[in-house]
Every structure is written in C-alpha cells, then in structure tokens.
C-alpha cells in the first residue's frame, strides 16, 4: 500500500475536442499535477491555455480523453458535493432568497430542515451576509452575489473548492476585498482550493503555488512557489518580485523599458 499524500492527482491527463468540421483540437496536452490537501493553488494563463478545461476535468464536468484524474485516490467520475465549483456568473437562483440559495445544497443532500437552516445561517454569518438573508439575488451587488455563492458552497462543507475566475466580473476594489475574505475563509475552514484566474496579481495574492499555463496546445509552462505568508501586502517589494517573475514568464515585460528603469535608479 502506498501512502496517500496528494488530495488531487492528475496523471498524463489529456483532453481533445473534435470541432464541427471534424478537426481534432488539443485543449490540454498530456500533463501531471499533484495538489496537496488544504493547499491553495492558482491556475494562470492566457485564454486558450486550457485552464478552464483543466478545472472542469478536476470538478468532473468533463472526462479526460486520456490519463486519470483522482481525488482522494478515487477517479473523478462526475460532479460531487464534496468538491464544489464556484462560477464567474455566480449560478444563483433568482427565485430563491439568499437563505434559500444557501439552503439548496443542504436540501439536495437531504439534511433535516432545522439543521440545514442553522448551518446555512452560520455560513452566511461567516461571509458577512447575515443581514441579507431575505433578499433576492437581483437586490444584491456583484460582490454580495459571489459571497452568497461562496456561502452556498461552504455550507455543504466540501473538502475541495474549485473556483473558475470567480472575481473576474467584479470591479477592482470589490475584487481585493473578496480576495482577502476568501483567504480568511480558507484559513478558517481549510478546504483545498483550486483557483483559475487570468489576473496575475490575484494569483500572487492568493496562491501558495501558481501553475502557469501556456496555449497551443494547453500545457503547464512552470509551477511557481509563492513563499510569502498570508495575508500578502500587495504594495511590498517581495510581492513585486513575484509579479516580475510572472510577467517575465508570460513575456509581458518590456525589456527596453526595464533597462531604462534600472539605469535611472
């Protein structure tokens, strides 16, 4: 028997699609990745790099064309309330109140009404929405909607949270607030988090490890350990160090401008 060390394990995972014209398109070329229990991992890359496909494979929305995806040593065969996906567009139910939305997963699980209500209220307290339980989604701001979606996920007490660009639709200020809040929630409840983003600063602020992905075909270019303690101060030099690492990796640094800046110091 081997000792189970990693929470999520991808071995030689491949995914291709056949286009309408019958051409084979490689979304993810064979790759390996291991994610530890309780770890916070960010997947970063430009569009077409396969990061969304990869998270869909891990969450069970898609099946790999080859290779295997396992969580806790078991192959992922479909969506499971133990590993919940949070979407960019929230996926809230407009006809249900905030409380009703958070209750959804608990009801689906068949948890008795009283206990479900207590758990839903406790999670809403955790995300700071205890006062808004009777509101409907259309009465909430984007940031509050995403808080409801996070509370809805946490109420089911999943061991893994998959987040697919969850803050991409929010303005910068709300995004910073929610990043900090997500970190606080993560530290309190310690799920494994896999977080897809195209925002490099967001990846540095959140991830213990950043998986850099590249397109054509979708692949892992580099895995970067971010050795900074949480919470991270976005204006500090060590933050800027990782920022430069990422920008260099994605060829976003203007060499000329950089040299000029160094001369002038």
């Amino acid at each position: 028997m081997s000792i189970q060390t990693s929470k999520i394990k991808l071995s030689a995972v491949e995914k291709h699609f056949t286009s309408a014209r019958g051409e084979r398109q490689v979304a993810v070329s064979p790759l390996d990745l291991e994610i530890q229990s309780g770890e916070f991992v960010c997947l970063v890359g430009p569009s077409g790099c396969g990061k969304t496909t990869l998270i869909n494979l891990m969450a069970g929305f898609e099946q790999p064309s080859a290779g295997s995806v396992t969580i806790d040593g078991r192959p992922v065969s479909g969506p499971d309330p133990d590993h919940i996906m949070i979407f960019q567009d929230y996926g809230l139910y407009p006809w249900r109140t905030v409380l009703g939305n958070v209750l959804f997963g608990l009801q689906a699980k068949g948890i008795p009404a009283g206990e479900a209500r207590d758990r839903a209220l406790a999670t809403l307290e955790l995300v700071g929405l205890r006062h808004a339980i009777d509101k409907h989604p259309h009465e909430l701001s984007g940031g509050m909607k995403q808080r409801v979606a996070i509370a809805r996920a946490l109420a089911v007490e999943p061991s893994v949270l998959f987040m697919d660009e969850p803050f991409a639709a929010l303005d910068a200020f709300t995004r910073y607030h929610l990043q900090d809040e997500l970190l606080r929630l993560w530290q309190e409840t310690r799920p494994t988090v896999v977080f897809v983003t195209h925002d490099l600063d967001e990846a540095i602020a959140l991830g213990q490890r950043i998986v850099l992905m590249a397109p054509n075909p979708g692949r892992i270019q580099r895995v970067l350990e971010v050795s900074l303690p949480h919470p991270r101060e976005r204006t500090r030099d060590d933050f800027a160090f990782f920022r430069r690492e990422l920008f260099t990796e994605f060829h976003l640094v203007h060499q000329m401008a950089l040299q000029e800046a160094e001369y002038s110091i």
Partner: protein, 285 residues
C-alpha cells in the same frame, strides 16, 4: 419593390415627421378596430340582444351544456398531456445532443404547418371504420372516431407544439451554469430539473399552457372531422356554435360564441400578465 423600401425606412420611424407617424398609428388602430374590436363587440351585443334571461337559458340548454362539459373535459386531458410532452421534449432538445434532434424539431412544428382538417382526417383514416385499425376496434367494441377519444386525440395533435415551442428557445437561452451549480452541490438530475430548470421556465410554461388551452377549447377544424356532430354527445363548444347558427338560432349561437370570446379575453389578459412577469424576471437575472 415599394414594399421592401418602405419596410426598410420603417427601421428609423423616429426620424419620420409626426404626420407620418400618426398616419401609421391610425392605420393600425383602424385595422384592429375593424377586424378585431367590432366583431368582438358584435358577438357580445348579439348574445345579449334578447336579454339576460335568453342568454342564460341558451347556455343551460342540455345540448349546449353537454358541449361545454365535453370541451372542458377535452382541454382537461389534452393540456396536461401536452404540458408533460412539451417539458420532456424541450428539455431533451435544449440540453442534450442526440441523433434525430432536428427531425424531432420538425415534427413538433408539423401541426402548425398542416391544415387542421388534415389533422382530423389522419385519425379518421387510422381509427375510422374503413381505417387501418377500424375493424379491430369494432371487434373489441372500442369507439374512438365520432366519440370523445377521437376528439381528444385530434385536439392533442393540433395543440402539441404550443408548450414545446415556447420552452425550447427559453431553455436554450438559459445556459447551463445554474444547472451545473446544482449538480456540483449534489443535486440529482431529477432534483435539478424540478428545483432549477422548472422554476427557471415557469412563466414560459404558464404562457404555453394558456395558449395551448385556448386552442384546445377553440379548435374547430380537426375536431369537426372526428366528432360526427352528435348532439349532446360529441359536440364541443365551437361545433355547437356552428349548429345553432345553421339553425338560425342566432341569439343562442352568439351566447355560446360569447363564451369562446370571453375565453379569448381572459387568455389575453393572463398572457399579458405572464409576459410582464417574464420580462421582469429577465431584467432581474
């Protein structure tokens, strides 16, 4: 052609001078008044031309009363069946890819493109005495044509596109995120359908049901072919109107017709209310 060019300039009605706009509005209003409002008013004024007493007596007349009951029965059976069919078909078409999908879509549209008389004849051909299944049915003493089952079958056929046609574009436009969220939260396929898909399209369902019901109660052509016009037995309300009219019993004919007109008015009011709610839901989400 002149028609085309005027239609194109119609895209910028805002730039048209006021008299032109008024002329267009007035033409439309005049048309509606002549072809919709005046006939509707005529139905009611004819119906009440001999007073309330005659009106109520006409409705209470046994053959008419049995026609009303038959019409309600036909609608009570065909509308729920078409509701179930519409939900199943639209869910399958909007959410899954399967071979024969476009064929299914075409078939759903068939009753819209076929004359109702043909729809009725199909059933006479199938179940009538000279039809394919006729002898077998007679041997087993089963009456379908010229009886209530035939009327119900023809009505189902004529009205089955209403719910499905309303729901397919609605479900297709809704995308999968809310349902994926439900699946990821541990809901089963059925739970997802009843807790997410159905509440999402509930106003569309109601809309389809109203239109389906209006047509089920008002259908003439298909029902006329399969009914056999047996008084007090196989006459529905529209058929009863025709019989009374042909007998020069105008007051009674219009009294019964006023029921259908009333149904149309109620349908319109509920329909506008549902449309208003649907628009509001769209804005909210």
């Amino acid at each position: 052609m002149q028609h085309n060019s005027s239609a194109r300039s119609g895209n910028n009605t805002n730039t048209e001078p006021a008299p032109v706009r008024w002329l267009l509005v007035a033409t439309a209003m005049l048309f509606l008044t002549l072809f919709l409002f005046v006939p509707l008013a005529a139905v009611f004024s004819e119906a009440f031309s001999k007073g309330w007493e005659t009106y109520l007596a006409a409705l209470r007349e046994p053959d008419t009363w049995s026609a009303i009951k038959l019409t309600v029965l036909v609608a009570a059976i065909s509308v729920p069946l078409n509701l179930v069919f519409g939900l199943v078909a639209s869910w399958a078409i909007a959410k899954f890819a399967f071979p024969g999908k476009s064929l299914l879509l075409t078939l759903i549209d068939l009753p819209f493109s076929v004359s109702p008389v043909i729809s009725g004849l199909i059933y006479v051909l199938l179940f009538g005495l000279q039809g394919w299944l006729g002898p077998w049915l007679q041997d087993h003493d089963l009456k379908i044509v010229f009886a209530a089952p035939g009327i119900i079958l023809a009505t189902i056929f004529v009205t089955f596109p209403f719910v499905a046609r309303e729901l397919i574009p609605l479900m297709e436009s809704q995308g999968r995120e809310e349902e994926e969220a439900a699946l990821t939260l541990g809901a089963s396929g059925l739970q997802t359908f009843f807790l997410v898909t159905l509440p999402n399209v509930k106003w569309g369902v109601l809309y389809g049901v109203i239109l389906c019901n209006a047509r089920a109660m008002g259908e003439f052509g298909a029902v006329s072919v399969v009914s056999g016009h047996i008084r007090g037995m196989t006459n529905t309300v529209p058929l009863q109107v025709e019989i009374l009219y042909n007998e020069y019993n105008y007051a009674a004919a219009f009294a019964v017709a006023s029921l259908l007109a009333l149904l149309a008015l109620v349908t319109l009011v509920v329909k506008s209310w549902v449309e208003f709610r649907m628009k509001r839901q769209e804005i909210q989400s």
